[in-house]
Symmetry: C2
Subunit: 83 residues, 2 copies
C-alpha cells in the first residue's frame, strides 16, 4: 500500500531564526509591516508499506537519524494513504 | 484586526530540486526506500490590517516582489483572522 508522508520541521521555541529575521527586515524595507515571522520546512515523499503503523515507525526513525536535529527542531509527521 | 498569514512556496512541476534529491539519496543509503521526494518552504507571520481583502492584496504583492520567484515557484497563501 502506498502512503503520502509529510514531515513538518520547525525550530524550537526560543531558537534564533536568522532566515525569518532577514525576511521580516526585507519586508519592512519594502514598507510591509509584519510581525512574528517564522519559517517551516516541509519534506514530502511517498512510501510503500504494509500498514500505517509501520510507516509511522519508519518515518519517526528517519526524523531522528537524518531529517531533523532533535536538539533544535520540533517536527510533526502526517501520513495519508494514497487514493 | 490581526491576521495569521502562511505562504507555502514550492518549485514548479518539472523544476529540478537538488535538496529533495539529496534527501532521497541519503535516506536510501540508510536503507529507507522512499519516492517522489519534494520540499516545500513555509513562511508565517502576523499582520495588522482592516480586513482580509487588504491582507490578501498585500501578501500577494510581497510574494511577487520578495518572497517568491514567480518564474520558478508556485505559491499558496492562507490567511486566518487571529482568535
Amino acid at each position: 500500500m502506498k502512503f503520502n508522508v509529510e514531515v513538518r520541521i520547525k525550530l524550537k521555541k526560543g531558537m534564533l531564526n536568522p532566515e525569518a529575521a532577514t525576511i521580516q527586515r526585507a519586508l519592512a524595507l519594502l514598507g510591509y509591516e509584519v510581525e512574528n515571522t517564522n519559517t517551516i520546512d516541509i519534506i514530502t515523499f511517498t512510501m510503500e508499506e504494509d500498514n500505517k503503523k509501520k510507516v509511522e515507525e519508519e518515518v519517526e526513525d528517519m526524523c531522528q537519524r537524518l531529517l531533523c536535529n532533535p536538539v533544535i527542531h520540533d517536527y510533526q509527521i502526517n501520513i495519508k494513504p494514497e487514493d
